[in-house]
Amino acid sequence: MIELTDQPLDFHSLSEYVRSDAAGAVVVFLGTVREFTRGIQTQALEYTAYHEMARQSLQQLETEVRQRFPVIEVGILHRVGALKLGDVSVAIAVSTPHRAEAFAAGQWLIDTLKLRVPIWKKECFSDGREEWQHPGITSNSPPPDFPPAAASNELNINSDGSQPQPPAKDLPA
């Protein structure tokens, strides 16, 4: 289940959607608009997408996560347009027989979505400035003990916390 929408994300329905008698574990991830980034106050975010490619890319994530992990059901919702503080920008839910697989699959999905799917955010700061966010500039540093998701070692998480580039096979040189 894939959705790219300018409406609030119904992540409660999403988590119900992935529940199954065959599953022992459900992991739900929500990305939310955070007030402070590097000490600067965010007032709002504007998400824009290359819709046609983003939908195909999200669909590809669903296909690929099912190949990599014993996924029973999976759903990915991403919002576009203007978001306020605390709003949910992305919701991912996955169910698997056992818990370790559910965490690994959920983490692989959000890590890979952030590498590949053509969506961009512009931060609108309280001082009036607007700024496109690019990996390496946003630098949401993971903690030093960040555990790389299982089966995602080709993602090349950079030790400085900057976000890696998309996998080489997907990329122009």
Binding site: G31, V90, K114, L115, R116, W132, Q163, P172
Partner: protein, 84 residues
């Protein structure tokens, strides 16, 4: 042989730098994505500031520079993604 016509889409900061969200470019029949890229960067030198981080997709798929282009292809040009 006739030239081919390719639509180019610009997104996010690349759109701001190019001051447009799309254009049509004519290329020689055997042109590759690399040829298109050269043509785009010549016409919009502001895009050079992204250096090698600028991403290119052909018909909604990431593509290598040696990919041959065809008439009516859609190429997208954008900076690193930042969704999620």
């Amino acid at each position: 042989m006739h030239e081919i016509q390719v639509t180019v889409l610009f997104f996010a900061a690349a759109r701001d730098a190019a001051h447009t969200d799309n254009t049509v470019i004519s290329l020689q029949p055997a042109a590759t994505l690399a040829d298109l890229r050269d043509s785009v960067l010549q016409q919009w030198p502001e895009l050079r500031k992204f250096g090698p981080s600028l991403l290119w997709a052909v018909n909604a798929q990431y593509a290598n520079p040696d990919l041959p282009l065809h008439d009516s292809d859609t190429v997208a040009c954008f900076p690193p993604v930042s969704g999620g």
